[in-house]
């Protein structure tokens, strides 16, 4: 982590400012603020129910927080739907796999290319040269991704038939295919064994290093968090209790009390 990076960490890319989110009486997030810096790998940790997923859902427009705002590349993302937020350069994966189950691996990843494909239905229906070229180029990008993720042998399998670990990988592939500026990864390594986790880390680090993609990832495995993240935000009961480099957060007494102490097993 100490060698010179292709994309050195820059200024704030994403600013979460005083976000509060309630579901009826349940306060999922309370007055939460933090910045994600350009090109960094940012981990969000915290016990179950702390509001981590809700936070990603706010950033990506699935949930609309009652208070506060989210600023991305200097622009306020207010009351706009997830597809517009995707256009601005934010992509994600989901905690409980949200793949297109009946579609093949390659087609799932191709959907990730949606924002790079703008031929309308008439061009596609008549297979104009432009439509064919677009399809071909994007397919090629997806084939590269499939190779990079080492899932070539399952490229035509409907994702619903794949084991969990592979599905997680496909979902990462779909998010990577968007070539978004920032990826929100909600527990990308949950339920994986050490080997699989190591592989996922390798992909994340490689993409971050080669493309400079900013990553925000929710992760429970402290080893992984310490290894790959530049900064860590710790959430507990919807509030931030620590925010800083991993070494600093690890020694923070609040964090030890709230999270590490409990989750250490």
């Amino acid at each position: 982590m100490t060698q010179v990076r292709n994309f050195p960490i820059g200024g704030p890319l994403l600013e979460v400012q005083h976000i509060s989110l309630r579901f009826g009486g349940v306060k999922a997030i309370t007055d939460t603020s933090f910045n994600v810096l350009e090109h960094e790998i940012r981990a969000i940790i915290g016990p179950n129910g702390a509001g981590k997923s809700s936070l990603l859902n706010c950033i990506n427009g699935i949930y609309k927080p009652q208070e506060g705002k989210i600023v991305f590349k200097g622009e306020v993302l207010d009351k706009i739907s997830p597809n517009i937020i995707a256009q601005k350069g934010i992509s994600r994966t989901f905690q409980n796999l949200a793949l297109f189950k009946r579609m093949s691996v390659i087609d799932n990843i191709l959907v990730g290319r949606k924002l790079h494909m703008d031929c309308n239905f008439l061009q596609v229906a008549f297979q104009t040269p432009r439509a064919r070229q677009e399809e071909e180029e994007n397919r090629e990008r997806c084939e590269e991704l499939v190779e990079f993720l080492e899932i070539t042998d399952i490229r035509d399998t409907p994702v619903g038939k794949l084991p969990y670990g592979l599905q997680k990988k496909v979902e990462l592939g779909r998010a990577l295919a968007t070539e978004a500026d920032i990826l929100l990864l909600d527990e990308p390594m949950a339920g994986m064994n050490v080997e699989e986790k190591r592989e996922m880390c390798r992909f994340i680090l490689k993409v971050n290093d080669e493309l400079g993609t900013t990553m925000v990832l929710i992760e429970h495995d402290m080893g992984v968090v310490m290894d790959i993240s530049d900064n860590v935000v710790v959430l507990d009961y919807g509030k931030i209790i620590a925010d800083g480099p991993p070494e600093e957060v690890r020694t923070n007494q609040d964090v030890i009390d709230a999270y590490l102490g409990v989750a250490h097993d």
Binding site: N60, I62, S81, P82, N83, A86, Q87, S91, R92, F94, A98, L99, F100, K101, R102, M103, S104, D107, L110, V111, G112, K114, L115, M117, C119, F121, V124, A125, F126, Q127, A131, R132, E134, E135, E136, R139, E140, E143, T152, D153, I154, R155, D156, T157, K161, R174, T178
Partner: protein, 356 residues
Amino acid sequence: MTDKPVFMTYSRSDVTNFAVLMILAFAVVPFTIETDYWYSSILIPWLCLALAAIGQQFVMGYAGQLALGAAGFMAAGAFACYNIELRIPWMPFPLSLLFSGIIAAAFGVLFGLPSLRVRGIYLMVATLASQFFIIWMIDKFGWFKNYDTSGIITAQDIMIFGVPFTSPMQMYLVVAVVVTILTILAVNMTRGSVGRNWMAVRDMDIAAESMGISLLRAKLQAFALSAFYCGVAGALFAFTYLKSLEPVAFDIKLSFSILFMVILGGLGTINGAFVGAAFILLFPVVLNTAGNAWFHGTIDATIISAIEQVVFGALIILFLIYEPLGMAKLWENTKQRLLDRRPVGEARPNKKPKTG
């Protein structure tokens, strides 16, 4: 599964299948089938209904929206075509069809709006509005029927640049050409980004939206194109099969038939539309013939039709439970078994198409 394309985006087997079908449709059938019955009562309605079923596939099989009201859009297309032919007599029939489809598509967008709010059975009920509203509108405003009071309006003769197409075989050719063109376009769309976006919405709408797909656009596009196909199908159905225009021909029973075609044929396949339409159309014919042959007329027609209903119901339930991908998929599986004895559904090792 995906083979190397040999022509545009089509694989060798696509091209061969297509060539065989085209030879059958335009070279073999017109020269071997002479009885009008085959054209008027089998081939023409089959192709018309298959076209409507493709429309139903878009919205239900691909975009995953449980819509019921295909016959309403067919009625819109049929009466639009009648009025265009009536009021702009020089209009070549293919153009009348195109505009009929576009008018039906406008209704499709309108009645697709509930899909932005509700889903499943609620959407099904909401889309039924199209069925009732369109028929009501045609009945209510005399203009649509040119103030005809007899109840049955005769469809105009099909004229294309002064050439009449009036014999059953000629009409079959018109239908076959239109259905061929629209089927190719449907295959292109469903295999391309349009179909992928629809399927993404079908399988996981939140994720689709997070990848940049506008649910509003994708759903309304599916409804519009679905209604376009149904509209053209309805116009063809009225002008070449019924040869008349009567709203009752497009009642809810027809909408259900089209829904069943898609379920039995196989959700999310274009082939399934043709297989399903053939089955729904031919099944009663076969059952009737068999009934008469076995029981020599001693069995009542109402009993046969009751049997038909029961068997249909049972088949639909069986397919929904055991083979949601329908008869088209069953056929695929059988073919694959016969061809290479490889277990179905197992990924083929590392066969990557070279697109380029």
